[in-house]
Symmetry: C2
C-alpha cells in the first residue's frame, strides 16, 4: 500500500514530514509514504529544499493521499492546472488533509457536507468555502479525514495506519516515536483523538 504525501512549494515541514515519517515506520509491513510534488524539488516555508520522491501523477494511483499544508495553499487552489492533477477518488482511496490542506479537499469537492479540521490561520478561508470548521484536532467520515494544528499530523498518520494495517500497528508506531517516559499516555491520546474524530456526528 502506497501513500502520497502531497507537498507543495512553501510547505510546512511538520505537516508533511510527521505524517510521512510515522507511516514509513510501517514499510516492513507493506505501507510506505512518499513525498509527492508538482515539481522535481519543492522549498519549504523555511527555505529548505527537498527532492520529491514521486511526481503528482502518483496521487492518482496511490492507495492513500494526504494533502500537506503550507503558506501557498491559497495559490494552489487557485491554480486550475495543479488542481486538475488531483483527480482523487474516495471510493478507492483514503484521502486526508492537514491544516490548510482542507482548502484543497474543499476545492476538489471532497468534503461535501462534512465538517472539517484545520489550523487557526486557515479557518476563515476554509469557512468561506462553506465548510463548518470544528474545534477539534481530527475528524473523519468514511474515507475522508482532516486534521488541524501541525502536531495533529500524528493523528492523521494514526488514522492511515489504523485503516490500512489495524489499531495494533498504529499503537506500535506511536509508542515508538513518543517521548521516552510518556509512551503509554501518548498512544492513548492518539487513539482517543481518533475515536473522537470518527464518532457519530454531533
Amino acid at each position: 500500500m502506497q501513500v502520497a504525501v502531497v507537498t507543495f512549494d512553501g510547505f510546512n515541514e511538520l505537516d508533511s514530514f510527521i505524517a510521512s515519517a510515522l507511516i514509513n515506520r510501517c514499510r516492513k509491513d507493506g505501507l510506505e509514504a512518499f513525498i509527492t510534488t508538482p515539481t522535481p524539488t519543492v522549498t519549504s516555508m523555511n527555505g529548505m529544499e527537498v527532492t520529491g520522491q514521486r511526481p503528482m501523477e502518483f496521487a492518482t494511483e496511490a492507495d492513500v493521499v494526504l494533502i500537506g499544508s503550507g503558506v501557498k495553499t491559497r495559490d494552489v487552489v487557485a491554480d486550475d492546472r495543479l488542481i486538475s492533477m488531483l483527480p482523487l477518488d474516495p471510493s478507492r482511496q483514503l484521502i486526508g488533509s492537514q491544516c490548510s490542506g482542507a482548502l484543497v479537499l474543499a476545492r476538489l469537492g471532497l468534503l461535501g457536507a462534512m465538517p472539517a479540521c484545520t489550523d487557526t490561520m486557515s479557518r476563515p478561508f476554509v469557512e468561506s468555502c462553506g465548510v463548518t470548521v470544528l474545534d477539534a484536532p481530527f475528524h473523519a467520515e468514511g474515507n475522508i479525514a482532516t486534521a488541524g494544528g501541525c502536531l495533529a499530523s500524528q493523528y492523521l498518520a494514526t488514522w492511515v495506519i489504523t485503516r490500512t494495517l489495524g489499531e495494533d500497528a498504529a499503537r506500535r508506531v506511536i509508542d515508538y516515536v513518543a517521548p521516552v517516559g510518556e509512551k503509554p499516555e501518548t498512544v492513548e491520546r492518539a487513539m482517543r483523538a481518533l475515536r473522537a474524530g470518527e464518532a457519530a456526528l454531533r
Copy 2:
C-alpha cells in the same frame, strides 16, 4: 541568533525537522534554524533527499547546535574526520542532542558526568560510552541538553526557545503548533517536561 540542526545521512526526519520547524517560528524574533549537513545533500532513513542549508563549518559559529538522530550515527561517531568538524564550545554555545545524537555528544566529551536522554534503540550504545541513560524525555544541565523519543524533539526546541527568547516565546510556539482543541494541555506538557528535565539532579 542562529541554530545549526546538524543532520547526517540516514537521518530521522522527525528529529531534525520538528526542532527546526518549531525554532523557525521565531524567525521574526531573530532566532533561526538551519539544516546543517556534511555534504551538499543528505538522504533520510526513508530515502528523502534534502539540500543542506548550511555546511558543517556553520556548527562552530552557531549560537545553538542541535545534533539530530538517524540510522547511521554509529558510523558518524567512528568517523574522525566528521567528528573533527564539530569543535563545539559549551561555554558560548547551547548544545543539544536528539535520540542517537547523544552518542555524538558523548564522543565529543561534552556529557562529562551528566546523565542523558536517548531513544530505546540507542540506549545500550549510549550506556556503553559510560553515560547513565534516564527514563525521561528531556534532561539539561547548564548549556547541554539531551532528548529521547522522536516527538521529544518538541521539548528540545522548547528548551532552545526558552533559553534564547524566554518562556513566553516558547509557549507561543507550542500553542501555535499544537493540535486544535489541545493547545493549553500541549503547552503545559512541554513546559512540565522542561522543568522536570532541568530540575536539580536526583
